[in-house]
Assembly symmetry: C2
DNA sequence: TTGTTTCATAACTGATGAGTTATGGATGAG
DNA sequence: CTCATCCATAACTCATCAGTTATGAAACAA
Protein backbone atom coordinates (compact mmCIF):
# COMPACT_ATOMS: atom_id res chain seq x y z
CA UNK A 1 0.00 0.00 0.00
CA UNK A 2 0.90 3.63 -0.44
CA UNK A 3 1.33 5.39 2.89
CA UNK A 4 1.10 9.14 3.32
CA UNK A 5 4.81 9.20 4.15
CA UNK A 6 5.64 7.38 0.93
CA UNK A 7 3.60 9.94 -0.96
CA UNK A 8 5.42 12.78 0.77
CA UNK A 9 8.92 11.51 0.07
CA UNK A 10 8.06 10.67 -3.53
CA UNK A 11 6.52 14.08 -4.11
CA UNK A 12 9.69 15.81 -2.95
CA UNK A 13 12.04 13.55 -4.87
CA UNK A 14 11.58 15.27 -8.23
CA UNK A 15 13.69 18.46 -8.63
CA UNK A 16 11.16 20.27 -10.81
CA UNK A 17 8.37 19.51 -8.37
CA UNK A 18 10.49 20.49 -5.39
CA UNK A 19 11.36 23.77 -7.12
CA UNK A 20 7.66 24.54 -7.57
CA UNK A 21 7.03 23.93 -3.88
CA UNK A 22 10.03 26.07 -2.94
CA UNK A 23 8.72 28.93 -5.06
CA UNK A 24 5.35 28.75 -3.36
CA UNK A 25 7.04 28.82 0.04
CA UNK A 26 9.24 31.76 -0.88
CA UNK A 27 6.83 33.87 -2.90
CA UNK A 28 3.48 32.74 -1.61
CA UNK A 29 0.34 31.91 -3.55
CA UNK A 30 0.71 31.71 -7.33
CA UNK A 31 -1.46 30.91 -10.30
CA UNK A 32 -0.62 28.03 -12.63
CA UNK A 33 0.21 30.55 -15.34
CA UNK A 34 2.68 32.42 -13.15
CA UNK A 35 4.36 29.19 -12.10
CA UNK A 36 4.53 27.94 -15.70
CA UNK A 37 6.18 31.16 -16.87
CA UNK A 38 9.47 30.31 -15.17
CA UNK A 39 9.19 26.59 -14.51
CA UNK A 40 11.05 25.51 -17.62
CA UNK A 41 8.42 22.92 -18.51
CA UNK A 42 5.05 23.03 -20.23
CA UNK A 43 1.82 24.06 -18.56
CA UNK A 44 0.42 20.50 -18.46
CA UNK A 45 3.64 19.36 -16.78
CA UNK A 46 3.21 22.05 -14.15
CA UNK A 47 -0.40 21.04 -13.58
CA UNK A 48 0.61 17.42 -13.08
CA UNK A 49 3.33 18.35 -10.61
CA UNK A 50 0.88 20.50 -8.68
CA UNK A 51 -1.56 17.60 -8.58
CA UNK A 52 1.18 15.39 -7.11
CA UNK A 53 2.03 18.01 -4.50
CA UNK A 54 -1.64 18.33 -3.65
CA UNK A 55 -2.00 14.56 -3.25
CA UNK A 56 0.85 14.70 -0.74
CA UNK A 57 -0.87 17.53 1.09
CA UNK A 58 1.95 19.94 0.30
CA UNK A 59 -0.21 22.50 -1.51
CA UNK A 60 -3.79 23.68 -1.55
CA UNK A 61 -5.65 25.10 -4.51
CA UNK A 62 -8.18 27.90 -4.71
CA UNK A 63 -10.29 28.57 -7.78
CA UNK A 64 -11.02 32.12 -8.80
CA UNK A 65 -12.68 32.51 -12.16
CA UNK A 66 -10.52 30.85 -14.78
CA UNK A 67 -7.47 30.86 -12.59
CA UNK A 68 -6.34 28.34 -10.00
CA UNK A 69 -4.20 29.69 -7.19
CA UNK A 70 -1.85 27.32 -5.38
CA UNK A 71 -0.43 27.92 -1.93
CA UNK A 72 2.01 25.91 0.22
CA UNK A 73 0.91 23.78 3.17
CA UNK A 74 4.06 23.62 5.23
CA UNK A 75 2.19 21.66 7.91
CA UNK A 76 2.52 18.68 5.55
CA UNK A 77 6.26 18.76 6.25
CA UNK A 78 5.57 17.63 9.79
CA UNK A 79 5.98 13.90 9.13
CA UNK A 80 9.24 14.64 7.33
CA UNK A 81 10.59 16.53 10.33
CA UNK A 82 9.38 13.79 12.66
CA UNK A 83 10.99 11.06 10.58
CA UNK A 84 14.31 12.89 10.40
CA UNK A 85 14.35 13.41 14.12
CA UNK A 86 13.37 9.80 14.80
CA UNK A 87 16.19 8.43 12.66
CA UNK A 88 18.68 10.60 14.51
CA UNK A 89 17.27 9.58 17.88
CA UNK A 90 17.50 5.87 17.11
CA UNK A 91 21.12 6.32 16.37
CA UNK A 92 21.59 8.58 19.36
CA UNK A 93 24.13 7.75 22.01
CA UNK A 94 26.05 5.43 19.73
CA UNK A 95 28.74 7.77 18.55
CA UNK A 96 27.84 10.30 15.89
CA UNK A 97 26.81 13.81 15.00
CA UNK A 98 23.39 13.85 16.56
CA UNK A 99 24.10 16.97 18.52
CA UNK A 100 25.03 18.90 15.43
CA UNK A 101 21.83 17.87 13.75
CA UNK A 102 19.61 18.73 16.66
CA UNK A 103 21.35 22.04 17.10
CA UNK A 104 20.55 22.81 13.51
CA UNK A 105 16.90 21.90 14.04
CA UNK A 106 16.56 23.89 17.26
CA UNK A 107 15.91 27.13 15.43
CA UNK B 1 23.46 18.59 -12.81
CA UNK B 2 22.85 16.33 -9.84
CA UNK B 3 23.21 18.20 -6.57
CA UNK B 4 23.84 16.48 -3.25
CA UNK B 5 20.36 17.50 -2.13
CA UNK B 6 18.83 15.88 -5.19
CA UNK B 7 20.74 12.72 -4.40
CA UNK B 8 19.52 12.78 -0.81
CA UNK B 9 15.85 13.25 -1.65
CA UNK B 10 15.99 10.61 -4.38
CA UNK B 11 17.73 8.12 -2.10
CA UNK B 12 14.97 8.44 0.49
CA UNK B 13 12.12 8.31 -2.02
CA UNK B 14 12.13 4.52 -2.41
CA UNK B 15 10.32 2.65 0.39
CA UNK B 16 12.58 -0.40 0.30
CA UNK B 17 15.66 1.79 0.49
CA UNK B 18 14.20 3.93 3.25
CA UNK B 19 13.37 0.77 5.21
CA UNK B 20 16.99 -0.37 4.95
CA UNK B 21 18.18 2.95 6.28
CA UNK B 22 15.63 2.86 9.08
CA UNK B 23 16.80 -0.61 10.11
CA UNK B 24 20.39 0.59 10.26
CA UNK B 25 19.34 3.53 12.41
CA UNK B 26 17.31 1.35 14.77
CA UNK B 27 19.50 -1.71 15.02
CA UNK B 28 22.90 -0.34 14.16
CA UNK B 29 25.57 -1.80 11.90
CA UNK B 30 24.52 -4.79 9.78
CA UNK B 31 26.05 -7.04 7.17
CA UNK B 32 24.53 -7.29 3.70
CA UNK B 33 23.48 -10.84 4.49
CA UNK B 34 21.63 -9.82 7.64
CA UNK B 35 19.87 -7.01 5.81
CA UNK B 36 18.94 -9.27 2.91
CA UNK B 37 17.43 -11.87 5.24
CA UNK B 38 14.43 -9.67 6.03
CA UNK B 39 14.46 -7.09 3.24
CA UNK B 40 11.99 -8.91 1.04
CA UNK B 41 14.14 -8.47 -2.05
CA UNK B 42 17.16 -10.29 -3.48
CA UNK B 43 20.72 -9.78 -2.31
CA UNK B 44 21.76 -7.86 -5.46
CA UNK B 45 18.80 -5.55 -4.95
CA UNK B 46 19.94 -4.88 -1.39
CA UNK B 47 23.49 -4.21 -2.58
CA UNK B 48 22.22 -1.70 -5.13
CA UNK B 49 20.09 0.09 -2.57
CA UNK B 50 23.03 0.27 -0.20
CA UNK B 51 25.16 1.72 -2.99
CA UNK B 52 22.54 4.42 -3.55
CA UNK B 53 22.41 5.23 0.16
CA UNK B 54 26.19 5.40 0.23
CA UNK B 55 26.26 7.77 -2.76
CA UNK B 56 23.92 10.05 -0.81
CA UNK B 57 26.21 9.84 2.21
CA UNK B 58 23.53 8.13 4.29
CA UNK B 59 25.56 5.02 5.08
CA UNK B 60 29.18 4.00 5.41
CA UNK B 61 30.61 0.58 4.68
CA UNK B 62 33.33 -1.39 6.44
CA UNK B 63 34.90 -4.50 4.98
CA UNK B 64 35.78 -7.39 7.25
CA UNK B 65 36.80 -10.56 5.51
CA UNK B 66 34.07 -11.59 3.11
CA UNK B 67 31.48 -9.47 4.84
CA UNK B 68 30.60 -5.84 4.33
CA UNK B 69 29.15 -4.04 7.32
CA UNK B 70 26.96 -1.00 6.73
CA UNK B 71 26.22 1.67 9.31
CA UNK B 72 24.02 4.79 9.22
CA UNK B 73 25.40 8.29 8.82
CA UNK B 74 22.69 10.41 10.31
CA UNK B 75 24.78 13.53 9.78
CA UNK B 76 23.76 13.24 6.12
CA UNK B 77 20.23 14.12 7.18
CA UNK B 78 21.42 17.63 8.00
CA UNK B 79 20.55 19.15 4.62
CA UNK B 80 17.11 17.57 4.85
CA UNK B 81 16.50 19.16 8.24
CA UNK B 82 17.81 22.47 6.96
CA UNK B 83 15.61 22.39 3.89
CA UNK B 84 12.51 21.54 5.89
CA UNK B 85 13.16 24.37 8.29
CA UNK B 86 13.89 26.81 5.46
CA UNK B 87 10.63 26.04 3.71
CA UNK B 88 8.72 26.62 6.92
CA UNK B 89 10.57 29.84 7.59
CA UNK B 90 9.86 31.27 4.15
CA UNK B 91 6.24 30.76 4.77
CA UNK B 92 6.54 32.06 8.29
CA UNK B 93 4.50 35.02 9.43
CA UNK B 94 1.99 34.60 6.65
CA UNK B 95 -0.64 32.61 8.49
CA UNK B 96 -0.03 28.91 8.92
CA UNK B 97 1.07 26.11 11.16
CA UNK B 98 4.73 27.00 11.47
CA UNK B 99 4.64 26.97 15.22
CA UNK B 100 3.36 23.43 15.36
CA UNK B 101 6.12 22.29 13.05
CA UNK B 102 8.87 24.05 14.94
CA UNK B 103 7.55 22.74 18.22
CA UNK B 104 7.81 19.25 16.83
CA UNK B 105 11.38 19.89 15.72
CA UNK B 106 12.42 21.45 19.04
CA UNK B 107 13.03 18.08 20.64
C1' DT C 1 -23.04 34.01 -29.93
C1' DT C 2 -18.23 33.91 -31.04
C1' DG C 3 -13.75 33.97 -29.74
C1' DT C 4 -10.02 34.00 -26.14
C1' DT C 5 -7.91 32.69 -22.04
C1' DT C 6 -6.82 29.50 -18.22
C1' DC C 7 -6.28 25.25 -16.60
C1' DA C 8 -6.89 20.09 -16.46
C1' DT C 9 -6.99 15.73 -18.67
C1' DA C 10 -6.11 12.31 -22.28
C1' DA C 11 -2.93 9.89 -25.00
C1' DC C 12 1.47 8.96 -26.15
C1' DT C 13 6.83 8.67 -25.97
C1' DG C 14 11.16 8.06 -23.83
C1' DA C 15 14.06 7.70 -19.95
C1' DT C 16 14.84 6.12 -15.56
C1' DG C 17 15.04 2.82 -12.13
C1' DA C 18 13.74 -1.21 -9.23
C1' DG C 19 13.65 -5.82 -9.64
C1' DT C 20 15.34 -10.27 -11.42
C1' DT C 21 19.03 -14.15 -12.70
C1' DA C 22 23.74 -15.08 -13.82
C1' DT C 23 28.35 -14.59 -12.77
C1' DG C 24 32.83 -13.50 -10.93
C1' DG C 25 36.13 -12.06 -7.30
C1' DA C 26 37.59 -12.50 -2.79
C1' DT C 27 37.76 -14.73 1.60
C1' DG C 28 37.45 -18.61 4.73
C1' DA C 29 36.91 -23.77 5.71
C1' DG C 30 38.28 -28.52 4.74
C1' DC D 1 44.29 -27.11 -3.49
C1' DT D 2 39.16 -27.65 -3.61
C1' DC D 3 34.82 -26.00 -2.27
C1' DA D 4 31.48 -23.14 -0.12
C1' DT D 5 30.18 -18.39 1.31
C1' DC D 6 29.62 -13.38 0.89
C1' DC D 7 29.07 -9.62 -1.77
C1' DA D 8 29.20 -6.70 -6.04
C1' DT D 9 28.50 -6.12 -10.84
C1' DA D 10 26.64 -7.18 -15.41
C1' DA D 11 22.84 -7.83 -18.32
C1' DC D 12 18.28 -7.85 -18.88
C1' DT D 13 13.00 -7.08 -18.16
C1' DC D 14 9.22 -4.45 -16.80
C1' DA D 15 6.84 -0.80 -14.64
C1' DT D 16 6.70 3.85 -13.48
C1' DC D 17 6.88 8.49 -14.40
C1' DA D 18 8.32 13.04 -16.30
C1' DG D 19 7.78 15.17 -20.34
C1' DT D 20 5.40 16.23 -24.69
C1' DT D 21 1.21 17.64 -27.96
C1' DA D 22 -3.68 17.65 -28.50
C1' DT D 23 -7.98 18.62 -26.76
C1' DG D 24 -11.84 19.94 -23.90
C1' DA D 25 -14.24 22.48 -20.17
C1' DA D 26 -15.10 26.60 -17.94
C1' DA D 27 -14.89 31.53 -17.39
C1' DC D 28 -14.49 36.05 -19.29
C1' DA D 29 -14.67 39.52 -23.37
C1' DA D 30 -16.60 41.29 -27.53
Amino acid sequence: METQTDLLFRALADPTRRALFERLCREGEQTVGALTATAGVSQPAVSKHLAALKAAGLVADRHEGRQTHYSPRTAALGPLADWTKDMSRFWEGRFDALEDLLNRMDQ
